[in-house]
């Protein structure tokens, strides 16, 4: 690893101040699972002069209900998501998504914020948060701002974060805490695999019809995306296996998968249709299971 200056931030505002002082050749260190690999193996041109460690900024931690909804701090690890009682009860899809990331060691280090900021299109945290209309809070020298998560990413490994800004937390809006949601990932093996396709689906059940259906698709476009044609089709329709299958087929049109060494675009398109249908079925199963209690 090349030399860099290392600063540990006390809290979020200290981190922002350090970034403003040292930018733009500065990198933010949280869990380190992506950054350390980059520091060791990325091209010299990408190498930072300064690393700001935010891993001790306690105001970036915590999982709690606030007025706006469920707040998950950017530094919350994947393991903490898996063991959070409120998330296990209300949003088990987030637990399933976290469980598919890396292995115990990397889930103990890696953070939700890091997964989102790294902005790899196959990130496993993305689809569920997209399907729940999550909002992200960003802090910078001029204060805080919030944006819908779909506007946070601008391309592979690109976000709207400016040099001296950091991600503070992710908020699941109050009306979506408890919304039936299901996450599915398809990789080439069970352990430590990148997703060929990952999908999350959520909807409220209104009588026997879909209300506010949302679908998040990962690894099939430059960023995690929604599936507006499938969502538009489902809104207000009866909850039937046929409608779920049709939504799966429509979701294919909302994605732009690529050919690469892991899979062909054609294979990924087939996966989108099947996984979207199954994710919708899974969300409905969760609804029925809760109703039976």
């Amino acid at each position: 690893m090349r030399a860099f200056e290392f600063y540990a931030a006390r809290d979020a505002s200290d981190a922002v101040a350090l970034l403003a002082q040292h930018g733009p050749k500065v990198k933010v260190l949280a869990g380190g699972t992506d950054l350390l690999a980059d520091l060791k193996f990325a091209a010299a041109s990408h190498h930072p002069h300064v690393v700001v460690d935010i891993s001790r900024a306690d105001d970036l931690r915590g999982i709690e209900m606030i007025d706006q909804g469920l707040r998950i701090g950017a530094l919350v690890t994947h393991t903490e998501i898996m063991s959070s009682p409120i998330i296990r009860e209300q949003l088990p899809a987030l637990v399933d998504a976290a469980h598919t990331i890396g292995a115990v060691q990397t889930r103990n280090l890696g953070t939700l914020g890091g997964n989102l900021v790294t902005a790899v299109p196959s990130m496993d945290s993305g689809p569920t948060l997209v399907a729940l209309d999550a909002i992200v809070t960003i802090a910078g020298p001029d204060g805080k701002r919030q944006v819908p998560i779909t506007q946070f990413w601008t391309g592979p490994r690109k976000t709207i974060l400016k040099t001296s800004e950091i991600l503070v937390d992710v908020i699941i809006p109050k009306e979506n805490v408890g919304k039936p949601t299901h996450f599915l990932k398809f990789g080439l093996r069970k352990g430590q695999a990148l997703a060929l396709v990952n999908v999350a689906a959520s909807f409220h059940v209104n009588g026997n019809t879909f209300k506010a259906p949302r679908i998040g698709l990962g690894a099939v476009a430059p960023t995690v995306v929604t599936a507006p044609s499938a969502e538009g089709f489902l809104e207000g329709k009866p909850i039937t296996p046929e409608n779920m299958a049709e939504a799966g087929k429509l979701a294919v049109n909302d994605a732009k998968p690529i050919n690469d060494f892991r899979a062909s675009a054609t294979y990924r398109r087939d996966l989108i249709a099947v996984l979207t249908r199954r994710a919708l079925e899974g969300a409905y199963e969760l609804h029925m299971k809760r109703k039976a209690k």
Partner: protein, 156 residues
């Protein structure tokens, strides 16, 4: 340079190292604790696994500066001068390791698992070992060893 002061296997240790030093490098080169191994260096293989503040982590993915003030347990902290740790003893009896390079990491993962889940199921054991790559054994004898340790503890 960063100054780090941390507890390793119950002992207070201090060092001053370049900022880019990983915890793994600190352990191996500053303190001569060479049990944790350098394998892939990107967090895939688990050969560098240690326990920091009770959490199983890849020491290759943590900077020394991040370990300042923390409590680190490495494979060297398990055995005493007279006895192997029970996990090490059962791994030896069962022939759970062949070349042994992955062993320190695997045993730390096994210790962490058994601390959390005293009677783990096979899927739980597989999940706990999924961050430790072994290219010799196929894992079967490791899983059997971990089940044996859990049974031994339950009957004690």
């Amino acid at each position: 340079m960063v100054s780090v002061s941390l507890t390793i296997n119950g002992e207070k240790r201090d060092a001053e190292v370049p900022s880019e030093t990983t915890l793994l490098k600190l352990l191996r080169e500053s303190f001569n604790l060479t049990g944790a191994k350098l394998g892939c260096d990107v967090g895939d293989c688990g050969a560098c696994t240690v326990i920091v503040d009770g959490k199983l982590v890849n020491s290759c993915l943590m900077l020394a500066g991040q370990a300042d003030g923390r409590d680190v347990l490495t494979i060297e902290g398990l055995a005493t001068a007279d006895n192997l740790h029970p996990i090490q003893r059962v791994f030896e009896e069962k022939g759970s390791l062949q070349c042994g390079f992955c062993g320190p990491g695997v045993i730390m993962s096994a210790k962490w698992l058994l601390d959390q889940t005293p009677n783990p199921s096979v899927p739980e054991i597989r999940d706990a070992l999924s961050g430790n790559l072994c290219r010799c054994t196929g894992y079967t004898k490791m899983i059997e060893a971990i089940q044996t340790i859990a049974r031994d503890r339950a009957t004690q």
